[in-house]
Symmetry: C2
Subunit: 335 residues, 2 copies
DNA sequence: CAACAATGCGTTATCGCACACGCGCTTTAT
DNA sequence: ATAAAGCGCGTGTGCGATAACGCATTGTTG
């Protein structure tokens, strides 16, 4: 590998000059610049990142804006795991992660966390922009590269998006539920929260496009009910022997599984999203047939790596990364 | 972060002494060593990897011993992709990969490639030990850390194994084929190569344990037939309307898919392994219903990262990594 | 033409660590 | 008694890049 010295020698200047020219800093003549660039090209010079990062001894601080880990049945702990794993590999190179959590159902909470990031000293941001306004305004305020995970926001100025294709997730659920319900009468039941959400409605659309029978929808999230009894009463009204299969578009399939278990209806096909701990249990018990996951761990892992490579290695952003849906069932449950 | 200077000051010695003690090199007294260790502990000193690797300016050369990429329907290109991806992230830190390919059906070819590695100058090895003898003897000859992918070999002296749980892969196939064949008469057909192979027989075992009907087995690999007509004639004898489903235990499901397509039997459930290009096409066409993959890309990716971290960062080997089976179907086909 | 500003570039210290060398002392060998 | 070897340790240099500093040379003024 050619070093800055080789370039300097070939261009007939000192290393200091090469450095200034390559960083477009200080003073230099255009013709020496030409010679230096020529030498760089000829030698195929690439700066040694070890030496550079050692010299500027910068630590790369990444701020992470995601909901509280325990929200959405513990879903947000998963991307965090992936980010921590990436961190453990990168910390020797001076990468630090700081988490700023918020209540995803509370705009003020998100604004407050975003404010703390804006005031913090960070070199990059990773966020799940569940609340448009706060995410957009944070990017406007804090001029550092940002990567979005989980949800995208067009025209927000992010450098990359690492996320999912929700539509195909729905289609996949349809395919599996079609299979599971063969030989059963009746129609499907879709369970969705009431709150407006791009991903969830895409999951519903993709599902509806591919199913081979009718589907009723119960668009009232678990959080809308006062207690378990209340919720079970609601399910009583929509679930019965004539239910061919149940499709839960968010991470709360385990609540339904609990209901099915109590009512002795464990043979009713049930599909949900996100491999949170409660869902995992219900998969192991065979009450949930399939869990679809968009690899949140992997999303977190990649986001950190991507941002690191942009900031520290000066690479171009490789553009968006769409994770494929993974199918989890009893036989391939991790751990 | 504390540096070696801080440790030296606290221990009342020079940095050179600290260095010698920490690397157990040269000469030093036990009591200074005590003081140094105490200082290290107290300050939480960890060497700066940037500086270390810069100073010794070592390049970490990894030798990779796997079959030719095009073998097994192109399967071996997949771990290579993962390794190349890991490489692109690590090359700024002086990691280099050198591939040594061999014919997996030819012991001499493998021995020759292993010989070239033994003679090469490398700091670590990654190998798919499909041929016991050659793998074992290479490890005996070349005393550098080795990681196995795809297949494990007990007592070989490898530092880690990154691979699959074949038994559960078979169980998963059974689960899916049970589902797909609902409403069909007849029995299952297992297609397997004749060659003795741990993974493949585990896949068969796991499958047999979970199926809900009988299964016949045709243990004659594709490679045993002279031409397509010969192969199709053999399939004619075992596949018919009474076939409830077909389970191909290796990457050659696409050959069967081609047959089914020609005979107009595309509704016969078909499951295979490994997302090689031909299988991908047949999944897209809906002839292959499910492909199970043990994430060979990911295996390669992890192997490189693991070895890098052991060699360059001096981390402990985190032990074996078993990848879960992934289910691929039309709706979640990557790309 | 002296005084001064602007320009282009080289020098040097620094980052944190590794490693060779050799100093000054004590112990052993001849 | 003198040389040789052993011991514990400090010093110095280099890895590749950064960035502040300052020296020449040239150009511009009154």
């Amino acid at each position: 590998m050619a070093t800055i010295k080789d370039v300097a020698k070939k261009a007939g200047v000192s290393t200091g000059t090469v450095d200034r020219i390559l960083h477009n800093r200080g003073r230099f003549s255009t013709e020496t610049a030409q010679r230096v660039y020529a030498a760089v090209k000829e030698l195929g010079y690439e700066p040694n990142m070890l030496a550079r990062n050692l010299s500027i001894s910068r630590t790369c601080r990444l701020a992470v804006l995601i909901p509280y880990p325990e929200q959405d049945s513990g879903y947000w702990a998963l991307p965090r795991e992936g980010m921590d794993e990436a961190l453990s590999a990168l910390s020797p190179y001076g990468v630090a992660l700081e988490y700023f959590h918020f209540d995803r159902y509370d705009s003020a909470s998100c604004g407050e966390a975003a404010g703390r990031i804006a005031r913090s000293d960070c070199d990059g941001m990773i966020m799940a922009p569940l609340r448009d306004g706060e995410a957009r305004s944070l990017i406007r305020k804090k001029h550092v590269p940002a990567i979005f995970i989980d949800t995208d926001l067009q025209g927000s100025g992010r450098i990359a998006y690492v996320g999912q294709d929700s539509r195909s997730g729905g289609a996949l659920a349809a395919r599996l539920l079609n299979l599971l319900s063969r030989g059963r009468e009746g129609s499907f039941l879709i369970l969705a929260p009431q709150t407006e959400n791009f991903h969830l409605s895409e999951r519903i659309k993709g599902f509806r496009e591919k199913i081979e029978r009718k589907a009723e929808i119960l668009a009232t999230g678990i959080e809308a009910f006062h207690d378990k009894a209340d919720f079970h009463a609601a399910l009583d009204r929509v679930i019965g022997p004539e239910t061919a299969g149940i499709y839960v578009v968010d991470a709360s399939a385990h609540y339904v599984a609990e209901y099915l278990k109590e009512k002795g209806l464990t043979t009713v096909p049930l599909i949900g999203f996100d491999l949170v701990e409660e869902n995992r249990k219900m998969v192991r018990d065979g009450v949930i047939d399939f869990i679809l996951t968009q690899q949140p761990r992997e999303q977190g892992f990649r986001a950190v790596n991507l941002l690191y490579r942009c900031l520290m290695l000066g690479e171009e952003s490789p553009g968006d990364q769409i994770m494929v849906s993974q199918i989890i069932t009893k036989e391939n449950l991790p751990d």
